[in-house]
Subunit: 228 residues, 2 copies
Amino acid sequence: MKIAVLGTGMVGQTIAENLSTAGNEVIMGTRDPSKTVSRTEPGSFGRPSFNDWKKANPNVQVKSYAEAAQQGELIVNATNGTATMQALEESGADNLNGKVILDIANPLDFSKGMPPTLTVCNTDSLGEQVQRKFPGAKVVKGLNTLTAPLMLNPGMLKEEGHHLFIAGNDEDAKQKVTELLKNFGWKEEQIIDLGDITNARGTEQLLPIWIRLMGKLGTPFFNFKIAK
Amino acid sequence: MKIAVLGTGMVGQTIAENLSTAGNEVIMGTRDPSKTVSRTEPGSFGRPSFNDWKKANPNVQVKSYAEAAQQGELIVNATNGTATMQALEESGADNLNGKVILDIANPLDFSKGMPPTLTVCNTDSLGEQVQRKFPGAKVVKGLNTLTAPLMLNPGMLKEEGHHLFIAGNDEDAKQKVTELLKNFGWKEEQIIDLGDITNARGTEQLLPIWIRLMGKLGTPFFNFKIAK
């Protein structure tokens, strides 16, 4: 499958690498592909530079947002939340029409230091903003409540049966995302479909406590489990 | 111990009953005690009227906010979030000074139907508002992320080891609340101290997904567990 991964940060790299290794044709989207590929400064959290990462993942293509979105049959939005709308506008509505957008981004504003605040919440959400701006796309909010390595390897936690939340207006799109998540190792019973895209308000507002828990626990390797 | 429970709804009743049964002197605070006690209309969710509930709990006193707060050595804020500031103002700063306030309230606005929105969030919280308004009190946010019966009976869920979050500026106050929670049946390892009162932003913003999960699961009997 041809998959566009918008965003070249840790989340984008982690997802692109996984999808490419699994045999998909992955096209990463970025504002300025040649600038992104030439980045030699080390990544955050001890990660390699983008240039080194790209060399280790030669099958992943790096193109403009528009080219990536045009070629992708499915779109993964792994941009920073504050850059999401701009990235999707550069992708172009025509290139998003009719396609599933798995929206992983969180509208976090780190400009005033830690902990960040949300740029939109409570009566609206980034997921809804994306859906309103691109009504022809099928937005599914998901994977935004846990750290990137865990998205693709839910078994790395000792505790089993922790949960993922998805939200979106299109049932078929949510089914497609569910299949993708199952390929990542999630069991169907771990995926809670909250309903339409307004439920992104619920999952995006998990971030304030997620970030505080990361500080408290000293690790990003944890997840929410709904105990019944 | 003399404990003031502000608020006479389901949360207040459930907590007052438990604390009274455990041998505490419980004084419920309400705006108009005689009016509250004379209420004969049935409670929500099939609960008895306040009048019937009071008859079943003769040891629980029902007084004005100010009288309850004056007599209580510890204050439990079980009012509706939208009524909290008014209730605490009627309680009187002098009656709150130096005391621990366990703040269970959530700033939920149900006036526009379900799901409710938050009246304060993201860059502030109800817990912080209370602490700022009553700097002499020691506010501990807690118990606001689960349904009332579960607050007092954590073992009613099949799954063990689910979590409670507390937040507050005063370590001694958090220790006192922790002891109270242990009396309710919580184990120390189930209680996560997030830090100062600004962390109430994290727990109050759990409500949007909590409410959606209640709708999705068809029951309020669940809780968050941090899977590691």
